[in-house]
Amino acid sequence: MSAALTVWVKGIGLWAPGTPTWHAFREVATGEASPAGNERPVADVLPPNERRRAPESVLLAAAAAGQAVAMSGLNAADLPCVFASSHGDQVITDYMCATLASAPAELSPTKFHNSVHNAPAGYWTIATHCHAASSAVSGGEESFGAGLLEAATLAVADDRDVLLASYDIAGTGPIGGMTLTTGAFASALVLSPRADGAAIRLDITPEPGNSAGEASGDAWMDGLAASNPSSLAVPLFHALAAAHSTALRVPAARGLDLHIDVETVP
C-alpha cells in the first residue's frame, strides 16, 4: 500500500537543553558527543530589537525554524509555515491569569499581543517578509504529530515547500501544574513534495490507534521525549540523525498515529 503523503526533508532544526542545534543533537544521537550546557536559543532570524524583547516561545520556535530554513537553502519569504505548540507560551499565560486575578486594568498590552498562540508565526513572517500562508496549531498532547500531518498535507496539496516548527516551553505557576511540562524543546523541518536531491524521504500514513511511544532505552533521549508534548518529535529526529531507513509511529490525535517510513535516499 502506498503512503498517504510522501514528503522529502530539505531542512532540519532543533533546540533542546544540552543540544542547542540540530548538529549538536545529531552528534549526541550518534554517540559522538554528550549533551552539554544549557544555551539560550539563538534566533538570529529576528532583528536584534525583537530578539531582545521576544518571549521564550518565539525565540525557541524561531531558533529551530531558522536552522531548518538555512539548511534547506530556500528563502523563508517563500515558505508557507505551520507553527505547532500544545500549550503556547505558558509563562505569558501565567502572567496574564495572575494579573487578571489581581489588577486586570494593569494588563500589559505587549504581553497581551504576545499571548496569542500565533505570536511565533507572526514574528517569523514579519522578520522574514513572508507573505505566504502561516498557521498556528495545537493538537493537545499530540501537537507534534498533528502539526506534522498538517504541514505534510499542505506541502502535497499545494505542491509547495513548507516549514513546520513545533515547540513547547516549561510550565510555570498554577498552569504549569496542569500541563506538567518540565523543559523546553523545539524542532523544525522544511518539507518538500519533490525530491530535488534531498537525502531523506518520509512516507506518512495515518493509522487508527495509539501505539506510539515505547522507550528507546537511551536515558537522555527518553527524558527529553517526556519533557513536553512537542518533544514527542524526539524519536523521529533520532531516526533522522541515524540516517538509515526505519519505520516509526508518531501520535497525531486521540486514536490516530502517523506511521512514518523514514527512507534514506542514497
Binding site: 500549550h87 486586570p104 486594568a105 498590552p109 507572526g122 517578509h129
Partner: protein, 400 residues
C-alpha cells in the same frame, strides 16, 4: 500556487451568538436589522463597553458524561452543536465513513482560558482549585478535544489558533485533507467565549469602544467583543448537490506588525486573490462580501480601500460585527454562517451601527439591509500577527 479546487458541499451548518441559538434566530435578526449588543455585565471588574453575550450559557452545565470538559467555552460548543440538527448530521457522516475518516478541525483564539483565569482567582495553596484540576481544559486544544469526544471520532483533530482568522482557516485545512483522500468529511468551525483575557487585553491596546461598535463609520472608535460558536460539516459535493457549496479560500500573511494591519492591505489582498483563483472566479462574479470590519480605525480603513478598488459597484458588502460584536476566534465561522444565510434568504445584512459613512468606502457598501439575488459570496477574516483568510461560497444549486 493556488490550485483550483473542486467545490465541497456544506452538508450542515449552525451558529449561536448574541443573536440567539441556531440559524433561524440569526436569519430573523438580520432580516429585522436587530443587533445583539448590550452593556458589559460580564467582566469580573467593571469595564465600560458593550458586549455580544450569549444568553443562558451559565444556566446549562454540560451533561455529566462530559464533566471533565466543563467550562463556559465547551458549554457554548455543546449549546451550538444541539441546534439545526447538527449532531444528527455528524452522526450520519460517522456512520457513513467511519470514526477515523471524519476530522475535527476547529478554530479558537482563547478556548477555555476563562476557566484558567477562574482558577487563578481562587487558587488553593498556590495551585488550581480541586474542581478545576482538569488538564484537558487548561490548553488551547480543549474545544477540539471536547468535540472529538462528543462524537467519539478518531480522525485528524486539530485546533487552529491564529487569533481572529482561526475558524475561517479551518475550511482550508478541511479542503486539503479531503482533496488528498485523508478523510471523507470534516467538522469545521470554532467557539470563543467572553473572558477577562480578551476584554482587558483589547482594552490594554485601547481598541475597545465605550459604545456599540460602528464598523466603517467615519467616527468609529473601536471594537465590541462578543462570543459565539459555529460549526459546519464539509464533504465532497456530488452531481446536482443541493447543499450550499464551499468553492474557494485564500490564506496570506501581512508580514507587517503583530497588532496593526498592513497599511495597503497587502496580506488581505493576497488572500482575496488566492480565494478567487482557487474558486475559478473573478471579482465581478462576487455578489456579496461579509467584511471583517471590526470598527477599529486601521482595520476598516484598509479593508474599505481594498473593497473599493477591487470590486464593481454591483458587489454588495457589509460588516455584521454591529450585530454580534467581534467574536474573535469564532468570527470566521459565525460570519461564514451569516454569509450562507444571506445567500439562502436573498438578504444583504445591514452594516449595523454606522451613521456617517467613512469616505474611503466605495459604492459596494450596503449601509441598510437590501434584497438581492446572491449566488456567490465571500467572507473575510483577519487576525493578529497579520494572519488573513478569505472564504468563497456559492448558493445552494448555483453553479460556481
Amino acid at each position: 500556487m493556488p490550485h483550483p479546487m473542486s467545490p465541497l458541499a456544506v452538508r450542515a451548518f449552525t451558529a449561536t451568538s448574541a443573536l440567539g441559538r441556531g440559524l433561524e434566530a440569526h436569519a430573523a435578526a438580520i432580516a429585522g436589522s436587530r443587533g445583539g449588543l448590550a452593556p458589559n455585565d460580564f467582566s469580573t471588574t467593571a469595564l465600560p463597553c458593550w458586549i455580544g453575550r450569549v444568553a443562558g450559557v451559565e444556566d446549562e452545565p454540560l451533561p455529566g458524561e462530559y464533566a471533565q470538559w466543563e467550562c463556559r467555552n465547551n458549554r457554548l460548543a455543546w449549546l451550538t452543536l444541539r441546534q439545526d440538527g447538527f449532531i444528527d448530521a455528524v452522526r450520519a457522516a460517522r456512520e457513513r465513513y467511519g470514526a477515523s475518516r471524519v476530522a475535527v478541525l476547529l478554530g479558537t483564539s482563547t478556548a477555555s482560558i476563562g476557566a484558567t483565569e477562574e482558577g487563578y482567582r481562587r487558587l488553593e495553596n498556590g495551585a488550581m482549585p480541586d474542581d478545576l484540576q482538569r488538564p484537558a481544559i487548561h490548553t488551547p486544544h480543549s474545544l477540539a478535544g471536547f468535540v472529538a469526544d462528543v462524537f467519539d471520532l478518531e480522525g485528524p483533530c486539530l485546533t487552529v489558533a491564529t487569533a481572529c482568522s482561526s475558524s475561517a482557516k479551518v475550511f482550508a485545512n478541511a479542503e486539503r485533507m479531503i482533496r488528498l483522500g485523508l478523510i471523507d468529511a470534516a467538522i469545521v468551525g470554532g467557539v470563543d467565549t467572553l473572558c477577562d483575557s480578551v476584554l482587558f487585553g483589547f482594552n490594554s491596546l485601547e481598541l475597545v469602544s465605550g459604545e456599540p461598535c460602528r464598523p466603517f463609520d467615519a467616527d468609529r472608535n473601536g471594537i465590541s467583543i462578543g462570543e459565539a460558536g459555529g460549526f459546519a460539516l464539509i464533504e465532497r459535493a456530488v452531481e446536482g448537490d443541493t447543499s450550499p457549496l464551499f468553492i474557494g479560500y485564500g490564506e496570506a500573511s501581512d508580514a507587517h506588525h503583530m497588532s496593526t494591519p498592513h497599511p495597503e492591505g497587502l496580506g488581505a489582498e493576497l488572500a482575496l486573490r488566492d480565494a478567487l483563483a482557487r474558486a475559478g472566479i473573478e471579482a465581478g462574479d462576487v455578489d456579496y462580501i461579509n467584511l471583517h470590519g471590526t470598527a477599529s480605525q486601521k482595520n476598516d480603513e484598509v479593508e474599505a480601500a481594498l473593497v473599493a478598488r477591487s470590486f464593481p459597484a454591483t458587489t454588495r458588502a457589509s460588516s455584521t460585527k454591529g450585530f454580534t460584536g467581534h467574536t474573535l476566534g469564532a468570527a470566521g465561522i459565525l460570519e461564514a454562517t451569516l454569509t450562507l444565510l444571506a445567500m439562502r434568504d436573498g438578504v444583504v445584512p445591514a452594516n449595523l451601527g454606522a451613521r456617517t459613512p467613512d469616505p474611503l468606502c466605495g459604492p459596494q457598501m450596503a449601509w441598510q439591509s437590501e434584497q438581492a439575488d446572491l449566488r456567490i459570496a465571500l467572507s473575510n477574516s483577519f487576525g493578529f500577527g497579520g494572519n488573513n483568510a478569505c472564504l468563497a461560497f456559492a448558493r445552494q444549486g448555483a453553479s460556481a
